[in-house]
Amino acid sequence: MAVEVKEFLPITQRHEDLGLSDETVLRMYYHLLLSRRLDERCWVLQRQGRVPFHISGIAHEGIGVGAAYALRKGFDIVHPYYRDLALSIALGMKPVEFMLALYGKKGDPHSAARQMPSHFSLCHLNIISGSSPVATQLPQAAGIAFAEILKQKLRPQLEAAGFRVSREMRVVLTSTGEGSTSEGDFHEALNWAGIYRLPLVVLVHNNQYAISVPVWKQMAVKRVADRAAAYGIHGAVADGGNVLEVYQVVKEAVDRARAGEGATLIEAVTYRWTPHSSDDDDRTYRTREEVEQGKLRDPLPRLRDYLYRRGLLTQREEDELEERVRAEVDEAQRQAEEAPYPAPEEALAPVFATEDRSGWWGE
């Protein structure tokens, strides 16, 4: 582990200092909780044999929620990875939209039940479809961001041709794990980001493990964020278990990007105490003591503790919130279980597009 932790670290930021209202920080907590309870339910469903596979976002919710709140929802563009359940939830994904994918049912909005779950893709939320080979989304996100630069540079020609170009650049946020930073895609993406000062935020969830390979076998540098300098972009580190700190660091990066000051590589540090996926057994590569220690990074109790300390949450309100979330998860599960499977022959299409659907033009 990069940093020894003995106990829950209290959140020291104050939400109002970050420009967040009481209502907003409570909503952050709701999104954290909803993501966690939904995730826990998915594990149960997989263990019961009701669904084939689950890959978890547990321990990553602080990063996802913090990042989502730093973005201009519906305007900025997100190219996430498979641990981004909380990011997607905080951006507006409904639990049933995840459950339909988990079950491979008709109506799965991400991939029409073609991809494994956690391949988030929701056009109405500007969440771009991802794949499974890691880090491929990074240079693509750089391309999306590069197009934002092109739109500003080519505004006269584009507007003359009838394309509305928004006054402000959209910021592109892409995320990945620390293991992916070893891929060539990561380096080529950051190189472009530096050369063209792209409005890009690369958010690395450093959860200490790439399946079973620990971070010290992944890189010789102490911090992922240290690599930013080599590409001429900003680097920053955030405590991934502290949702307010993640928000603060991502917000600074987003503001910089929108202002034309270029890209940021953010390393959000967490610890993945679940197995890599439902097919993994992490007892083969790490001790239970280490895992227990890792749980001290848990973003959920840390935010809960903060809300209690700040007088924003009572036991009764917390219980009510838990009830509400449980009902939401129950309902999502019920709808997914009742939904039909796609017809087998739906596998045949659509391979090719017949019309152009791409692009965000105008507001």
Binding site: Q140, A147, K153, L154, G359
Partner: protein, 327 residues
């Protein structure tokens, strides 16, 4: 009608499409002030500026990935890979990403982009400036693979590719860049992606080819015509999706098929044409489906005699035609 070289027709297509649609831009190594190592983008940087003709870093993976991202965000990139031999670092982005975006998103995200690359041997390019890579990509649903054999088609097909809402691989037979000339109309026209074309009518047998090999096949057909062998030539033009109808109709007429390609023989594109004929044209066949291709060695050697040994030529095609005609 003005006569132009293959490379001029390609440049004209890019130029006209850039003038027509401000979303079209070019990205690749040396495409800017230099105008490309083969001069495919000559003058375009001067004409359209640095934000539409973009000199990329020397990194093929990102040339394609940046193209994918820009396509998702409303543009229509033309990505140039300097030589097909260097496309392999981008293989993952093409095959796992561009090809699968539309299907994997349930028909939500399409990726309108063109990836151009000069391919093929016979130009003293050795192992790494001579490769034919079309079969790798023609195997992948979601990709369109187009190879022009003449200037007219090159211009029309490239324009169609730029306007297509899907990723299109556009492989250019570089040996023919300046060698192959033909009439190219001024202004706008399209050659649709998909249909193959019967470029020479004949009755004795059909030669299927594309790119430089199609150019040679026409020459070979003329050679054997003097000997009384009446050859039909089909320019496949679009390798994916394949035009089975034209392939089968031609063999229905001639009864024999020779497929010529300069890639390695085994599992090259001609294998698929042979399989189509075996499976769906069996009743039409009066002889074995024959293939003439490069040998199964890891590349086109540099030394001229070895290069000539590797490459199919009009003479070798003519000889194969004679063998098949005798059958």
């Amino acid at each position: 009608m003005p006569e132009k070289t293959l490379i001029e027709a390609i440049r004209e297509a890019i130029d006209e499409e850039m003038a027509r649609d401000p979303r079209v831009f070019v990205v690749g190594e040396d495409v800017g002030p230099r105008g490309g190592v083969f001069r495919a983008t000559m003058g375009l940087w001067q004409k359209y500026g640095e934000w539409r003709v973009i000199d990329s870093p020397l990194a093929e993976l990102s040339i394609v990935a940046i193209g994918i991202g820009a396509a998702l965000n409303g543009f229509r990139p033309i990505c140039e890979i300097q030589f097909a031999d260097f496309i392999h670092p981008a293989f993952n982005q093409i095959v796992n990403e561009a090809a699968r975006f539309f299907y994997r998103s349930g028909g939500v995200y399409n990726v309108p982009m063109v990836i151009r690359a000069p391919y093929g041997g016979g130009i003293s390019g050795g192992l790494y400036h001579s490769q034919s890579v079309e079969a790798f990509f023609a195997h992948v649903p979601g990709l369109k693979v187009v190879i022009p054999s003449n200037p007219y088609d090159a211009k029309g097909l490239l324009k169609a590719a730029i306007r297509d809402p899907n990723p299109v691989l556009f492989f250019e037979p570089k040996k023919g860049y300046r060698l192959i000339k033909g009439e190219v109309p001024e202004g706008d026209y399209i050659v649709p992606i998909g249909p193959a074309k019967v470029t020479r009518e004949g009755s004795d047998l059909t030669v299927f080819a594309y790119g430089m090999m199609h150019y040679y096949a026409l020459q070979a057909a003329e050679m054997v015509a003097k000997e009384g062998i009446d050859v039909e030539v089909v320019d496949l033009r679009t390798l994916a999706p394949v035009d089975k109808t034209t392939i089968l109709n031609s063999v229905k007429k001639t009864g024999k098929a020779l497929i010529v390609y300069e890639d390695n023989l085994t599992l090259g594109y001609g294998a698929e044409v042979a399989a189509i004929l075996a499976e769906e044209g069996f009743e039409y066949l009066d002889g074995p489906v024959m293939r003439l291709a490069g040998p199964d060695v890891p590349g086109v050697p540099f030394s001229p005699p070895m290069q000539d040994f590797f490459m199919p030529s009009p003479q070798k095609i003519a000889e194969a035609i004679r063998r098949l005609a005798r059958y």
